[in-house]
Symmetry: C2
Subunit: 361 residues, 2 copies
DNA sequence: CGATTCATCTGAATCGTTTCAGTAGTATAG
DNA sequence: CTATACTACTGAAACGATTCAGATGAATCG
């Protein structure tokens, strides 16, 4: 039992079996006060006997206009989503709110075949969408659904479309200021992608101007503000390397390329802890001591950042809180409450062992 | 726009606007070959103009009998699910298969209010359910749905209900044998929960016999086989401490209690890396050197296990593969292909730095 | 005792699609 | 020039529930 391919048992079947109206059976499930307890019990008994597992969610959803699921949209393939150690934290935050309100979480990513995006056909009551590049078709598909939607890590000027971001500019700026205060004068930046389908590599100033991912753009700007405030030249004293993916390997490669520049940077600013860990790994392989030979600062404060050797100096953002806020905003929309104000969450520099004064030249 | 609460635009509206049959409009979306390209284009144009976002997923799902989502069920609250670093890997595995077949992943956990479980009302085509204790009501609810279902980390004797597990017994045994071969004669075990809603603490032999979580039971058994094969006494030479939650904190507490026993264990076997990391943390705080003062062996081989200092000796299982297999099995069921055989994935001891010979007494 | 309320239960409309058996009308074959 | 086959489109019946305005009879009230 449990998996027999019986023809489907419906409300009607059990109504017929008992000689009552289907509406009565429906009431047994949805409005216990509308019928006598005995009849209700008899209905459940019959349902059990016939193997009826309760009202069909889809039919109910259609009629009620509500499914009980919120869509969480990733700009990338779903299977990549979890290579980033902070993704689960964000989801956890949404889950925290969703489960209280009785919603499930439907994860949707872009499918291998670009054309038919799942976002267009997902049965959900609303969406939380993460960090999109300008003009991403998946994003368009989501917006096209005209469902209540909350943006994360992206701004929006559309009224009624709330968003939550973090202070990327401030965080990045604090990170760069920290290194400069330690005496570093030559910096390498391991950047996240600037555009969809980027190939990576050292970026010219022009290319940097074309960043279409919000957080990447904001962090570059934050770094730059600090650099120029210190009287350094962004063009001359800083090298920006774009990593085409947010993985350890790309972090390693970034380190390799950046440290191959001359003059050699004495510190590397990474836009994620994932990349920073890759940088640490490269340094370890090369026998470069951190922080005496090289300083590294990450971004995110992933749980692992505190556990590595050396532990990672990084910019903390509260991913769980970010998820919660997004969840709260969406639920407010879904439940017809007043829309919540967009919010910018704070970031904070956490100094650990991976940053220190530059080596004396 | 995008979020205006217009009254819903339907197929019928756009059919009327063009003076064609609704079935024709439907065909425009689902069977392009059934109508002339020009009409199809006119239909899309009108749809765009009226703000029609394509066939309603729920209505379509109802009619077609397929939603395009697979339910991933956690035995616990969803927000807890992600405190374990290996959970994302498992999901990633499922996602890998699901996204290829065009399915989304609906995460459902137990809701705070025990009664109305989301599993009973989730719009999905099938379920993957993780490690349940015998008789868990959430599990009953899932089975009651009579949808195609795959069990993970649990066996099943029901035909047509495939499962995937790992060789927990073998892995645990290898871990214990490793420690014994190193010379350890007194072991502490930091166990995962044995039953739902357990409170934790040192376990008597009787209590151990009542384990209702499959993996916990299997690992205990594996440890025991190794211990007794070496001529040691399970009752006298081994202390089992049950952690009520799989968290760092509980790992620390386990270490504290286990190391407080006398005679003191010279090694701790933890049933997850998460717990093992807690043990390491406790050791570090106490100034106990690992592995010279204490050996620690984990379970799972979470990504972080290789990165800690000292790196963690552990039993490797391939969580991504576990997810993939589960996904494949479910998809086979969903697509009406022949059911795949249940599978037991291998485990393998990975020796790193956290295990060594016991201190000389 | 007639009027009201109350607790139960019923019927029919509806939710927004898909599907399938047709119907014209036009092109191809014999 | 009639039979055959397409092509392009239509109508109506599902899909499996919920909802809401009644209907029925029993109980309560003044």
């Amino acid at each position: 039992m449990g998996v027999k391919p019986d023809k489907k048992v419906t409300l009607k079947d059990i109504a017929q079996a008992l000689g009552v109206a289907t509406s009565t059976v429906s009431n047994a499930y949805n409005r216990p006060d509308q019928l006598s307890p005995e009849l209700r019990e008899r209905i459940f008994e019959t349902a059990r006997r016939l193997g009826y597992s309760g009202p069909d969610p889809m039919a109910r959803g259609l009629r009620r206009g509500r499914v009980g699921a919120i869509g969480v949209v990733y700009p990338d393939r779903l299977s990549y989503a979890f290579t980033d150690p902070v993704a689960p934290l964000f989801i956890q935050g949404i889950a925290l709110e969703a489960e209280q309100a009785g919603y499930g979480l439907l994860l949707v990513g872009s499918t291998p075949q670009e054309d038919s995006t799942l976002a267009a056909t997902a049965s959900v009551d609303g969406f939380v969408v993460q960090c999109f590049a300008d003009g991403d078709p998946l994003y368009q598909a989501v917006i096209g659904r005209r469902l209540p939607t909350v943006l994360v890590d992206n701004f929006s000027d559309t009224p009624g479309l709330p968003w939550v971001t973090v202070d990327d500019v401030g965080g990045a700026r604090a990170a760069a200021e920290h290194l400069i205060a330690l005496g570093h004068r030559r910096l390498g930046i391991a950047s996240l992608e600037l555009t969809r389908q980027s190939v990576g590599g050292i970026l010219t100033l022009e290319q940097q101007a074309g960043a279409s991912y919000g957080p990447t753009r904001a962090r570059l700007q934050g770094y730059r503000v600090a650099v120029e405030a210190a009287g350094l030249s962004w063009g001359r004293d800083v090298v920006v390397y774009e990593c085409p993916e947010n993985t350890l390997e790309e972090g390693r490669r970034a380190a390799e390329v950046l440290l191959g520049q001359s003059p050699r940077p004495t510190a590397i600013l990474a836009m994620s802890d994932q990349l920073a860990l890759g940088v640490l790994e490269h340094a370890a392989r090369q026998g470069t001591a951190v922080p005496t030979g090289l300083s590294v600062v990450g971004f995110d404060d992933a749980p692992i950042a505190a556990q590595t050797t050396p532990s990672l100096t990084t910019v903390r953002q509260d991913h769980v809180e970010k998820g919660r806020r997004a969840g709260q905003m969406l639920l407010a929309l879904l439940e017809g409450r007043e829309a919540l104000e967009p919010v910018i969450l704070p970031t904070r520099l956490v100094v650990r062992e991976s940053s220190g004064p530059p080596p004396r030249s």
